[in-house]
Every structure is written in structure tokens, then in C-alpha cells.
């Protein structure tokens, strides 16, 4: 999901699993680049992991932590989301009211 225009637009990565929806800022903490090199194309690996297309850092989608590659010890910036009916809301439910 992108908000705004141009290179500096906020880009979020939304991931739905049996544990719910996780949202992360789409920025690899290694070189501060998006995780994807091409629009909408991400590299999902087995065991709910995602790989940054640029330098192969691998992140766990459950918590955003880098488990292999050049960003090891760092993590994706998590964004709080909540679901109301079928809507995904950025922030907590308090913000929905």
C-alpha cells in the first residue's frame, strides 16, 4: 500500500496470517530501501519470511526481525493496525472512534 506520490511516498507492507494482520513500513533497515525492486513484487519465502530484493536480508513476518543477511539484529518498523468489520485501520481502535 502506498500513501502519497513519488519516491518518498509512505509505503506499507501488510501481511495477513492466522495470527492476524501485521503491518510494516516498507523500508529495509540495511540500506533504507524498499523491500521490493519492482512495484508490488515481494519475495516471500517459506516459514512466513520475506527477503529484501536488494541485498538479500531475510525478515520474519511475525515480528519483523531480520534473521539472516546484512540487516541481522535489526528489524522492520512495525505499524499498529486494527480491523473493524472488513476495514483495516491504521492505529488502534481508539483512533477509529
Amino acid at each position: 500500500m502506498r500513501y502519497g506520490e513519488g519516491d518518498e511516498a509512505l509505503s506499507l507492507l501488510l501481511y495477513r496470517s492466522r495470527l492476524g494482520i501485521r503491518a510494516y513500513v516498507n523500508k529495509c533497515p540495511h540500506f533504507s530501501l524498499p523491500l521490493n525492486a519492482r512495484p508490488g513484487k515481494f519475495f516471500l519465502l517459506a516459514h512466513e519470511q520475506i527477503m529484501c530484493a536488494y541485498h538479500c536480508a531475510i525478515f520474519r513476518l511475525q515480528d519483523g526481525n531480520c534473521i539472516a543477511g546484512p540487516a541481522e539484529g535489526l528489524g522492520l518498523e512495525r505499524v499498529t493496525v486494527s480491523t473493524v468489520d472488513d476495514q483495516i485501520i491504521l492505529g488502534t481502535c481508539d483512533d477509529c472512534a
Binding site: 519516491d7 530501501l33 521490493n36 519492482r38 519465502l45 541485498h55 534473521i67 546484512p70
Partner: protein, 336 residues
């Protein structure tokens, strides 16, 4: 024998050789093996098996960069015959494709792999073939000849080092640390005369936490690797990647975008070739203060007889490779 890595990538490796102790590795149709002095790469072409031999130290230095850089931008020629091309999520492994002696005669091979598979294989090769005491990131003067001979242990502490990267600039709160004796970065033997003074910052009231400065010379004088840029400044898509260079750049880098070089100290000679054919295009001697833009249609290799400081300025804007390949952008930044 196949082994599965922690990331579920498969590595096809043989048992250790009874004679040398080294394993051999298979990646698609390519086979990699090493002996006391040499690495041997084979691939099928025209119904025969092509062979390529390289000095093991040169090969290990080259593949170390490819692994550490995550296949980098564009083409990483491990030598004049074999190399990789980063497709950002997948990687091409080629032999002879950019060497007309092979490609014109149909003796080349290119295969595409998912990045985790080729990365896991290259890491396994490095792990098995790097002997104790040999550091592929170091200059020959610093690491000696432990690469020679039969298998003798490992040097995982050296090969598992990551490129140092910052979020904005080293030394800022919450960002990468400045290098010092205390965090394992002593001044390199070649830079003992470099001042370690840090800049004084006199910010106007109200701006105390918004101004930062660091001595890039002091930072680079403590680099523990050669030909391995760190990231010392991130501003949007602009990445300043300074590095210290000694001996030979172990790979020939064929960039998929224009790359700017600023020589900060000493001298560096560049051999520049056509990216597709390897035909010579230019030789450039850069002295301290010189600036050069490496076009997007060349491959380059550097030679530094004394450890020198180089600033590599990368444009990390997504979509640039496609803009150069389509002709939307010219391969050079300036028309004379």
C-alpha cells in the same frame, strides 16, 4: 549429498575429498571444485564439458564480495569468464556469456536461480574453501598464504562480516557507531598518520540536536576490509559508500546504473572495459581529489598499490536498471 540451510535453500555438496578435504558443489548445471591452488568450474555446452580454472585466492576474494554485497548492482564478474547478474530476487550465473571467445562460439551458459539458492551455495563454498588464517577481505600483505594447500579449518569470523551500514550517518544517536579501538576497529597500518580529531559542532540555539558531523578520514582509516564499501551517509536514495582499497578489486563490476567515484587519498588505477565484450575502453588514474563517473555500460576493475580511500556514490533509486536498459537514460551522466 544435499544439505538444507536455515532458510530452506538447498545446497548440493559432495562429501569431502579424501585427498584435499574440500567439498565440491553443484549449482544447476555448474560444478565448482577446488584443490591445493586452484578452483575449477565446469558447465555443459555443445555436448561437451567446458572447464575454467582460477587461482583459489582470487576466486575466494571475488565470491566473498558477491556474497557480502548480496550480488550488488548489476553484474559481478568473478573474472573474465564467470560471474553473476543481480535480477533483484533472482540471480543469473553465467560462464562465458560476456566473453566473446565463448559466447560467439556458443560455448557459454547462463542459468537463473532464486537468490536464496545461489546465495546459500556461494556461502557454503566460502565456508568450506576458506582456510583458517585466510581473510578474503584483507590485502595479501595482511593475510598471507593460508589459502594454499589442503583444507585446514575455517575462518568464519572473517567471512561472516557484514557491510557496515547506517540509517542516516554514523555517530548519530541510535545509528551505527563511529569506529574506534574500543569497538574493534584499530587504525590500519597504512593510515597511522591520519588525524583522529573529530569536528567541532557549534550549533545555533535550538538546533543542537539537528546538526551532526564526523571525520570521514578518521572513519576510513579504521576500515578493517578492502574493496568493501560501507554506507556512511543516507539521504533519500543517495548513498555515500566509502571504502579503502589495496591490491586488486577482486571482481569486475558491471554496474546497472551510473556510479560516481571520488578519490579521497593516494592513487587508484582503473581498467575500464565494455560491459558486454570486455573490450578495453579506458584506463583512468585517479589521484586524491579526482572525481569520475563510471558509465552504466562498462565494467571496471581497480588497482591500488598502497591502501587508498575512495568514496563511491550510489544512486539507489528503484527502477534505474530498466531506465538504462530501455534507453530512457543515457549510460553516462554528461555529454561533452
Amino acid at each position: 549429498m544435499s544439505t538444507q540451510t536455515a532458510n530452506n535453500a538447498m545446497v548440493n555438496a559432495s562429501a569431502a575429498s579424501n585427498r584435499t578435504g574440500y567439498r565440491s558443489f553443484t549449482l544447476g548445471s555448474f560444478n565448482f571444485s577446488r584443490d591445493e591452488y586452484f578452483v575449477h568450474v565446469t558447465w555443459p555446452a555443445k555436448g561437451q564439458t567446458m572447464t575454467h580454472t582460477a587461482s583459489a585466492d582470487a576466486f575466494l576474494r571475488a565470491i566473498m564480495r558477491d556474497v557480502a554485497w548480496g550480488f550488488f548492482y548489476g553484474w559481478v564478474n568473478l573474472d573474465d569468464v564467470i560471474g553473476t547478474r543481480n535480477l533483484y530476487g533472482q540471480v543469473e550465473m553465467y560462464a562465458g556469456r560476456y566473453n566473446p571467445g565463448y559466447s560467439v562460439n556458443g560455448l557459454d551458459l547462463t542459468e537463473t536461480f532464486d537468490t536464496p539458492e545461489i546465495l546459500a551455495t556461494f556461502k557454503a563454498v566460502l565456508d568450506d574453501w576458506t582456510n583458517e588464517g585466510f581473510d578474503p577481505f584483507a590485502s595479501p600483505d595482511e593475510t598471507g598464504k593460508a589459502w594454499v594447500g589442503c583444507k585446514n579449518g575455517h575462518n568464519r569470523a572473517a567471512i561472516d562480516r557484514q557491510r557496515q551500514a547506517c540509517k542516516r550517518m554514523p555517530g548519530l544517536p541510535g545509528d551505527a557507531e563511529l569506529r574506534s579501538d574500543n569497538n574493534g576497529f584499530p587504525v590500519n597500518r597504512a593510515f597511522e598518520d591520519v588525524s583522529q580529531d573529530e569536528p567541532e559542532i557549534h550549533a545555533e540555539p535550538g538546533f543542537e540536536n539537528e546538526v551532526h558531523a564526523m571525520s570521514l578520514f578518521a572513519y576510513l582509516s579504521r576500515s578493517d576490509v578492502t574493496w568493501n564499501p560501507s554506507v556512511s551517509s543516507v539521504c533519500g536514495r543517495s548513498l555515500c559508500c566509502p571504502t579503502t582499497e589495496e591490491y586488486i578489486l577482486p571482481i569486475k563490476h558491471g554496474n546497472d546504473r551510473v556510479e560516481w567515484f571520488i578519490q579521497l587519498s593516494d592513487e587508484l588505477d582503473w581498467a575500464i572495459e565494455d560491459k558486454q565484450t570486455g573490450a578495453p575502453r579506458a584506463k583512468v588514474k585517479m589521484k586524491a581529489g579526482d572525481v569520475a563517473a563510471m558509465p552504466a555500460d562498462i565494467r571496471h576493475q581497480g588497482f591500488s598499490r598502497k591502501r587508498s580511500m575512495l568514496l563511491v556514490w550510489e544512486n539507489a533509486t528503484p527502477g534505474l536498471p530498466e531506465m538504462y536498459e530501455s534507453g530512457k537514460l543515457k549510460p553516462y551522466p554528461v555529454e561533452f
